[in-house]
């Protein structure tokens, strides 16, 4: 488990911990997201062969990670929040990987 400690229960502070993210971080992230959107559109205008889909996916993932880390404050959150976020995507990954394992091998011959 991520937090096997007792300190977590014995709160020393009474009020929630406040971490105020500086303004420039928000603006930078916003700018990055906007650029990402433009890039996504731009990349889709060209025929990049098999690379169109991976590029779109990578950009979208980077954007999502930025939102999660900064807008959603995960970067300053307790380890448990990280665990929850990563676990969710891990579980979704299980669904994708094992399902595709079936579809992609259906046409294979039996030896």
């Amino acid at each position: 488990m991520a937090d096997v400690t007792t300190t977590e229960i014995n709160h020393s502070e009474h009020a929630p911990h406040v971490h105020i993210t500086p303004m420039w971080i928000y603006l930078t992230v916003f700018f990055a997201l906007a650029v990402g959107t433009v890039l996504t559109v731009a990349a889709s205008r060209f025929d990049l062969g098999m690379w169109n889909t991976p590029i779109a996916l990578v950009i979208a993932t980077i954007k999502a990670v930025l939102v999660i880390l900064f807008f959603m404050h995960v970067i300053h959150s307790p380890r448990l929040t990280w665990v929850v976020v990563i676990a969710s995507f891990l579980w979704l990954g299980v669904l994708f990987v094992l399902m595709f394992a079936d579809y992609l091998t259906r046409a294979w011959n039996i030896y």
């Binding site: 579809y103 259906r106 046409a107 011959n109 039996i110 030896y111």
Partner: protein, 347 residues
């Protein structure tokens, strides 16, 4: 009741059956053994360390922790052995021998239609030769069914819009059950039949039509001889109603009266078709009065009877393929999902 009414082990009638039974025996011994051992230990301990006084506490003793490792590793190894055996058997069940005879099967609410390569069609009965591998290529016309031969220890789901194959090689002659094992609606439990395993010579004779079959199977010949099958096809394409599953159902007539399709009604329908016109059909069926002998009539009636009691509506359900512009027929192979292996011919 007699012991024969109370079987504990199914008949073994295919080449893979002993293999499946061997694995089953192994599983029963290992799992049964471990379970019984566990129960025995629990039983002994529960008696031996029974609480004798209200306030008695447990002794301050812990079994060695190494036990923990033992009962993680040993079961795991046993499990892996089961996995390997099971998969090996599965591949044996899946891998079709080269020289297999092809038979085509269609599942449909609620009947099995089989078609032999030489053109014979049959319903809910399947004739196969003993000692020859048989490959069945199959698809469903509506929902998912599952073709199950308990005596052969094989079954396979039958999917709409996609071909699947299964195979078996019978090892003894006789009659064995065919069941539909995937729930498919009202008459799921009536979607049953028999597989008749014959000597290859008899099978050849049967294929050639030379064999003296039952009344019904002779009726089937007559059905072709009198060209009934030109109008009464197995799907809704003919000019006459589908007779599959007719027997025993309630038929609505053109005057909205209803009548139960029993032997008499069938007989009358053959001899005097205009007497009762089925709703939704034109009165185009010719009379066979004077052309069919009583003998033959009986065979015809018993054939129609044998088509079973599976159908609920007189007008067959449309297959849900009307919108499928790409496949045309719902049975077109490869429409949709890549088939496991291209098996070529269509039923």
């Amino acid at each position: 009741m007699m012991l024969s009414d109370f079987p504990l082990w199914p008949e073994q009638a295919s080449t893979v059956a002993p293999g499946v039974d061997a694995l089953m025996t192994f599983m029963c011994i290992v799992c049964g053994g471990v379970s019984v051992l566990t129960f025995f230990v629990i039983f002994i301990l529960a008696i031996k360390y029974r609480r004798t006084s209200e306030n008695q506490l447990a002794q301050d003793y812990e079994p060695p922790k190494a036990l923990e490792a033992a009962w993680i590793i040993i079961p795991f190894l046993i499990f892996m052995f089961m996995f390997v055996w099971g998969s090996w058997l599965y591949f044996r069940i899946q891998r079709v021998p080269e020289n297999a005879i092809d038979i085509y099967a269609t599942g449909k609410q609620w009947m099995w239609k089989f078609q032999h390569a030489s053109g014979q069609r049959e319903i809910n009965t399947l004739h196969v030769p003993v000692g020859r591998p048989i490959r069945i290529t199959m698809a469903s016309e509506d929902v998912i069914h599952s073709l199950f031969f308990p005596a052969f220890r094989v079954k396979s789901d039958v999917l709409p819009n996609r071909y699947k194959t299964m195979w078996f090689q019978a090892t003894k002659t006789g009659r064995f059950h065919i069941f539909c094992a995937e729930y498919c609606g009202t008459q799921h439990s009536g979607m049953i039949g028999w597989v008749e395993v014959m000597e290859p010579v008899d099978y050849q004779k049967w294929l050639a039509g030379g064999a003296e079959g039952s009344l019904a199977s002779q009726g089937e010949k007559l059905f072709q001889k009198y060209a009934c099958n030109t109008c009464h096809t197995n799907d809704a394409t003919g000019r006459g109603p589908v007779l599959l599953g007719l027997y025993g159902t309630t038929v609505t007539l053109s005057n909205n009266a209803t009548v139960t399709a029993d032997e008499n009604y069938i007989r009358e329908s053959i001899l005097n078709p205009q007497a009762k016109i089925v709703k939704g059909f034109a009165p185009v069926m010719p009379t066979f009065q004077g052309q069919v002998s009583e003998d033959d009539l009986l065979k015809l009636v018993s054939y129609v009877h044998s088509l079973g009691t599976q159908k609920t509506a007189v007008v067959p359900v449309e297959t849900p393929s009307s919108k499928d512009t790409s496949a045309g027929s719902p049975l077109k192979p490869g429409a949709g999902i890549p088939p496991q292996k291209d098996k070529g011919a269509t039923p």
